[in-house]
């Protein structure tokens, strides 16, 4: 009983860890998508409806972008550690062991965070270069 109980507990913990890292995989792309929608929506409200002052909107969105990028750096660093590339190349992670799955999720999270970061920078560039609604 004790041996089996121990095994089950460890499985459970492992499972909840991996469930957590599955969520983290989706975090960066979701944050990018939210940021994108927020930018479009608030600039439209400012320029088309005139409900928000454009300059304040622009600066706030730039601030949000900075926060998002800080979150991505932190997230990317965590994913990098989970991936642990120094412990062997990802092409060797195909043995189906729990350890491989764990590192694979880190690898995927890292790459998705990187591309979400680039996309967020691209979304922010117009805010930096274009002023006003013209």
């Amino acid at each position: 009983m004790t041996d089996q109980g121990h095994q089950t507990n460890q499985d459970r913990k492992e499972f909840s860890d991996e469930a957590g890292s599955l969520w983290r995989i989706a975090l960066a792309p979701s944050v990018w998508a939210g940021h994108f929608v927020l930018c479009y929506a608030s600039v439209s409200l400012a320029c088309v409806r005139g409900l928000l002052p454009i300059e304040a909107t622009r600066l706030s969105l730039i601030a949000v972008s900075v926060i998002v990028l800080v979150v991505f750096v932190w997230q990317g660093w965590r994913a990098w550690r989970q991936w642990a590339p120094e412990r062997g190349h990802p092409s060797a992670l195909s043995e189906g062991k729990a350890e491989d799955r764990h590192r694979f999720l880190g690898h995927a999270t890292f790459l998705l965070t990187l591309i979400s970061g680039i996309a967020t920078v691209y979304t922010t560039l117009p805010l930096l270069l274009l002023e006003g609604c013209r």
Binding site: H89, S91, V121, Y122, L125
Partner: protein, 314 residues
């Protein structure tokens, strides 16, 4: 519709237009001839490849750079493809392969696309930069252009149609809107295009550099006669422009000849004034284009026909 009466053409205007086209031909002669050998068909009064305004020039530079960049990339990619499939077909060390993917597949595209994005975005504010005092308001109609000139610090405005005249060497504000459907104003030789929306005002500005006569075209499908919805954009030396605007602000000239007087009588008897305005006469209709000084315009029917007497009689 014989209203020759209205065509008491300010001959000075016609002569100025001719002088303009002559200047353009002379000024651009050498360059155009050299280019014509390579790019015949790319020059002309409605071509982005023959820029005559500072905005069009900036877009042209961007276009040529993208084209050259794309050509280099294409050759390099095909060269690599050839090299790795025909010349060096052995396996690549894993480390070099990974480096190739990291630089060629991640870093290079990110940097190149980022640079092009930065460049393109940095051009946008210039194309909408505030003007130097002259504002041309254009209202898109189905299917013609209502044009109104206002000068900063000068009371009143000058209404015209289907022809936009701009002074060279200065930036002119364009305020665009539309009636009913979406149009888009584009003079390829002078700058980029801007959509015209019902109930909204969009803005752009143009800075012609070389005097000349360019063709503008509606660039957003707007119904049956969309393809016919054109206009002439005339870039004039600032002093010529001032003279023209002053003349344009005057009421229509009194008919001088018998034919002209007869035309005025027909215009009034046929009720043309219900839709068309001719300043200085009882004709104050707002539905159709303002026909004051129509004789001095370069085309009639929104750029469709040359302004000859035969065409006007149709």
């Amino acid at each position: 519709m014989p209203f020759r009466a209205l065509i008491s053409p300010p001959l000075a205007g016609l002569a100025a237009a001719q002088r303009l086209s002559f200047q353009r031909i002379r000024g651009r002669g050498l360059r155009t001839t050299a280019a014509a050998l390579v790019l015949s068909g790319c020059s002309g009064r409605q071509s982005v490849l023959d820029p005559a305004g500072s905005d069009a020039q900036a877009l042209f530079t961007l276009f040529v750079s993208l084209l050259v960049g794309a050509a280099i990339l294409w050759v390099a990619m095909n060269g690599l493809f050839y090299w790795f499939t025909r010349r060096s077909t052995g396996t690549l060390p894993e480390r070099s392969g990974r480096m190739l993917i990291l630089f060629g597949g991640v870093i290079a595209p990110t940097v190149v696309i980022g640079a092009v994005l930065l460049w393109g975005l940095s051009l946008l504010p210039d194309q909408r930069a505030p003007g130097d005092g002259l504002t041309v308001s254009v209202l898109g109609e189905q299917w013609w252009w209502r044009v109104e000139y206002t000068m900063e610090g000068v009371e009143g405005s000058v209404v015209s149609a289907n022809e936009i005249r701009l002074p060279t060497g200065q930036r002119t504000d364009l305020r665009l809107t539309s009636d009913g459907v979406i149009h888009s104003l584009w003079v390829p030789a002078l700058g980029g295009k801007m959509d015209m929306f019902p109930g909204r005002e969009t803005r752009m500005s143009l800075e012609p550099v070389e005097p000349g006569i360019y063709r503008g075209q509606c660039a957003e499908f707007c119904g049956a006669s969309h393809a016919w919805m054109a206009f002439m954009a005339v870039a004039m030396m600032p002093e010529d422009f001032a003279t023209w605007l002053e003349a344009e602000a005057q009421d229509a000239a009194e008919p001088q000849s018998d034919a002209a007087r007869r035309g005025l009588a027909v215009f009034q008897a046929a009720g043309c004034g219900a839709c068309h305005t001719v300043r200085g006469t009882p004709a104050v209709g707002k539905v159709g284009p303002d026909l004051t000084h129509v004789g001095s315009r370069l085309t009639i029917g929104a750029g469709r026909l040359g302004a000859t007497l035969d065409n006007i009689e149709r």
